[in-house]
């Protein structure tokens, strides 16, 4: 009868999870029952044998990092580090674009003397095509950049678990490169604008010289008060 009761007590006894009175009962029974004594000894031996499998070092060092900041905030955070605020960036890009359009417009303005009259034209059709090509190219680049950002963002969101940290590092790197490229772009655009404005100035000087020569040839006497020049032929 007591031996049946022991079946449930062995596990507790072995790992010392028995209440004091149960423990007394169990030990008392084992000391008087040969069969249970052997059973208990076998259990202890098996448990001791298991104990020879020691813990080993996992050789891993998991680190979790804060990742609540949305992708674009983090990207702009990086830009902020090099002194460009998101607003500045967007404003800078829009201004540059407007300036480019404006200056190309001016560059394409031509004054032509044909059939005894002066014509002012804004760019030739060939040049317009060129401009179209340029703007689609810029649009393409912008679209690709946008796609890159979206893709990176999606990758970051989709990447779970172990590659997440790696991806964050890659994204940070990308953000840095992006900022660097942006700055290089802006510098290049600025330089181009300078060059363009210098060229257009040269053009204007030349046009004025031509006009002056023309006036002299046609013996035109400028009016005293207005000082404006007619561009009508003789």
């Amino acid at each position: 009868m007591n031996c049946d009761k022991m079946e449930l007590l062995f596990a507790d006894l072995l790992y010392n999870e028995l209440k004091e009175e149960e423990k007394e009962f169990a030990l008392e029974h084992i000391s008087t029952c040969k069969s249970c004594e052997v059973k208990y000894k076998n259990l202890r031996e098996t448990s001791a044998a298991l104990g020879r499998w020691k813990e080993e070092d996992a050789e891993m060092n998991l680190i979790f990092i804060e990742e609540k900041v949305p992708f674009f905030e983090r990207l702009f955070g990086k830009l902020d580090l090099i002194g460009i605020s998101p607003r500045q960036l967007v404003f800078g890009m829009i201004t540059t674009l407007l300036l480019v359009v404006l200056f190309t417009g001016i560059l394409r303005t031509e004054a032509i003397y044909r059939n005894g009259s002066w014509y002012i034209s804004f760019g030739s059709s060939a040049k317009m095509e060129n401009q179209m090509e340029e703007s689609t190219l810029i649009a393409d680049i912008k679209r690709l950049q946008q796609e890159n950002l979206v893709f990176t963002n999606r990758l970051l969101l989709a990447s779970e678990e172990r590659i997440r940290n790696e991806n964050i590092a890659v994204v940070n790197d990308l953000a840095n490169q992006f900022a660097l490229l942006r700055r290089q772009d802006l510098t290049l655009i600025g330089r181009s604008i300078n060059e363009m404005s210098q060229r257009s100035e040269g053009r204007y000087v030349r046009t004025n010289q031509l006009l002056d020569g023309l006036y002299r040839l046609s013996a035109y006497q400028p009016g005293g008060s207005s000082g404006t020049r007619s561009i009508e032929g003789k």
Binding site: E7, L8, F10, A11, D12, L14, Y15, E17, N42, L43, E45, T46, S47, A48, A49, L50, G51, R52, W53, K54, E55, E56, D57, A58, M60, N61, L62, I63, F64, I65, E66, E160, E161, R162
Partner: protein
């Protein structure tokens, strides 16, 4: 600092507190998973997954005092997924090849019954691990898991019962029958005396 304090700090937004918790538990969970799965690479993988799950769900843990049982439960479930995925055979044969400390491959049975030298002296830690690992694999999975949780992880029977969602007495009897089955398995491997008499 206690685990539950670290958990509260983490819930407050302190990721560093979570890293302390990870650092404190990763070896323990890794060793648990390693013993259940028997492969180090798988164990690392599952350990990592365990902590990612913990990271995502720690806020939902109602009783912070039950963290130990809870993290074991997560690891346990991931182990089961892994076992199901790999469809590993739950038992092994004594004809299975093992690698001895000298690097040569031989059948487990031959290695164990080589009577020319005193086997107890030859049992280096790596081989002891190999034998116990194989012994554990020879008994039913449900018993093996209870044994690992109790013997190596030091969980209370009450906690194991919570984790496995089984009655307390079921757990205790699995422990009892599991140990007996393991003893038989080790005897079948003909090494009971050598392993058992060591450091007893």
């Amino acid at each position: 600092m206690e685990d539950n304090q670290l958990i509260l700090k983490f819930i407050d937004g302190d990721v560093q507190a979570f890293n302390v918790l990870v650092n404190r538990w990763q070896n323990r969970i890794y060793n648990f998973v390693f013993k259940v799965l028997g492969k180090r690479e798988d164990a690392k993988d599952v350990t990592q997954k365990t902590f990612i799950k913990v990271y995502k769900n720690l806020r939902k843990l109602k009783d912070k005092q039950k963290f130990s049982a809870w993290i074991h439960q997560i690891a346990m479930n991931l182990c089961r997924d892994e076992i199901r995925k790999n469809k590993r055979s739950p038992t092994i044969s004594i004809h299975e090849k093992i690698r001895t400390s000298t690097g040569e491959e031989m059948e487990l049975k031959d290695f164990l019954s080589d009577g020319s030298t005193d086997i107890a002296d030859e049992l280096f830690q790596g081989e002891v691990v190999e034998i116990i690992r194989k012994g554990l694999k020879m008994i039913p999975e449900e018993q093996r898991i209870v044994i690992i949780m109790k013997e190596y992880q030091g969980l209370k029977f009450r906690e194991i019962s919570d984790i496995l969602q089984e009655p307390l007495n079921t757990i205790k009897s699995r422990m009892y029958y599991g140990l007996n089955a393991l003893r038989k398995a080790l005897a079948e491997l003909e090494i009971d005396k050598e392993v058992f008499q060591y450091e007893l």
